[in-house]
Amino acid sequence: MAGKSLYDKIWDTHVVRRQEDGTVLLYIDRHLVHEVTSPQAFEGLRLAGRKPWRTGAMLAVPDHNVPTTNRLRGIDDLVSREQVETLDRNCQEFGIQEFMMNDKRQGIVHVIGPEEGFTLPGTTIVCGDSHTSTHGAFGALAFGIGTSEVEHVMATQTLLQKPAKTMQIRVEGALGKGITAKDVVLAIIGHIGTAGGTGYALEFAGSAIESLSIEGRMTVCNMAIEGGARAGMIAVDEKTIDYFRGRPFAPQGELFEQAATYWRTLKSDPDAVFDRVITLDATQIQPQVSWGTSPEMVVPVTDKVPNPAKETDPVKAEGMRKALTYMGLTADTPIDQIAIDKVFIGSCTNARIEDLRAAAAVIGGRKVAANVTMAMVVPGSGLVREQAETEGLDKIFLAAGFEWREPGCSMCLAMNADRLEPGERCASTSNRNFEGRQGQGGRTHLVSPAMAAAAAIAGHFVDVRHF
């Protein structure tokens, strides 16, 4: 019999029961909750007279709507405020632990889960948020769900699921100088396409993935969903285990070592069979910049904006034309000649301490370019912000002309006051370049933190390797 993949191992340990048609009742170990996708689920519980199955498996935090300035004066937008207060009330009513807006531990749900050790290897983790795939970086099975399923998990601690197909994406070789996890995952999405992972759980493997830091692995798994896969995961190694030592929600002492013994088994067996295996050459990956309105519309910074006239698939060519019109770009323009208006360094993709360090390192005493009207840094959590300030990173950003904000999702999706105006062009470390994502009519280019910082200083995209 063939060996098991990492996905199979976690799946098998979480099966409560199997139906005849293959649908499984899957036990969920960890449920992260935020203010946007939970109110209707809580209301559903109330209407049906149900209680959460296991509140200790839940952790809540407001992140999408929270302001990133003047936090102490509260939320000006009444509708946003109502949503955050609804979360507060629901957590209080049902007895769920919440890091409220002004708690130092508050932050983006996918940053605080691992930071607190609430996320653990080998667990099943869900959240009403597609970027839940982030937590797969720790050898967990983590995926986003809709509000009906949020309610289902609250009420039963389980989900009705069918197993996904498995795809292993191997990135082999050494990454070049200045190439980051963000470039790796954008290159992967450019390769498999935005629907390439649909129906699959992805496992990222190979020497380039193993060499990534924990933060970098989170960036890669975070964007599995941009390749169409609900879940992305990476095998456990000593880096993973060390990460959890001393985290507040993680086991301590002897129990930690007992857990670690099990965690070390969380890797695909050498003879595991995948439905699909893809291999990328790490040495060929360049710094990436997205040019269109889908994350698969991405090219190396050394390249040009693609030309739809050269695309043979008519549906694709039409999509490219629509994207170019929306983005206000002309085919064949060199990427490094595209000027930008704003810079956003933040989001669950790239707002951890390592991301902020990488961005700060590029600045080198220089200033944000005159044509850049706003450059903002939004740390992923209050603890990341505090750590960055201890290291003096805030001073580097402020001296260069960046704004230093309070933690939250911010301009990744612009549910709070942080947004692009129509026509504005942004170098963004976030995960989606969809039309209107960062503000109606806004134009998003996805890049790594280092590339975003370099673009802020140059006023246009530049190859960070020669900057």
Binding site: I145, Q258, L413
Partner: protein, 215 residues
Amino acid sequence: MQAFTQHTGIVAPLDRANVDTDAIIPKQYLKSVKRSGFGPNAFDDWRYLDPGEPGMDHSKRRKNPDFILNQAPYDRATILLARQNFGCGSSREHAVWALTDFGFRAVIAPSYADIFFNNSFKTGLLPIVLPEETIDELFQAVASQSGYTLTIDLARQQIIRPDDASAIPFEVDSFRKQCLLDGSDDIDLTLKHADEIRTYEAQRRQSAPWLFLDR
């Protein structure tokens, strides 16, 4: 959940690939704590020429005459014909609520993003997958006949065309099909197995105690 058995309705063609959930329901409307009322804001950025915010009277906004759902008879459409990877992006179930609140009962496309596909079944919106060629045929049929209507029979897994052409069969997961036909509540179904969930938990408390440090 609203049951789905058989449905006949006008087909609206949305001829673009990778329609994401940000496009289906823009973020500012996700601030609502309700499950209904999203219909006027389905495809908001494409449907209106002026920017929209929650709380506005959307009937007074300037509509984009070029957008298909603003044109009769598609403003009364109940079946959406779309291209590949429909519903990609965010997990927001609000996208499905916006479509059903607009009046859609089914979507027909060559492929869907996983989370959207799943959310649709939970809310009584039937997402039908058909081969690219059949989708092309349907786009042509809709283009050649304004108000083109289809009948979807879930029990028989067939789409019946108006012009005596042969019925189009479609696949659907048997369990999901039954849930839709019954309009059943998943949570009720699952709670019938509450004892099994408790048994599983008790075993896991033994084998992986570090997962139960509920604090």
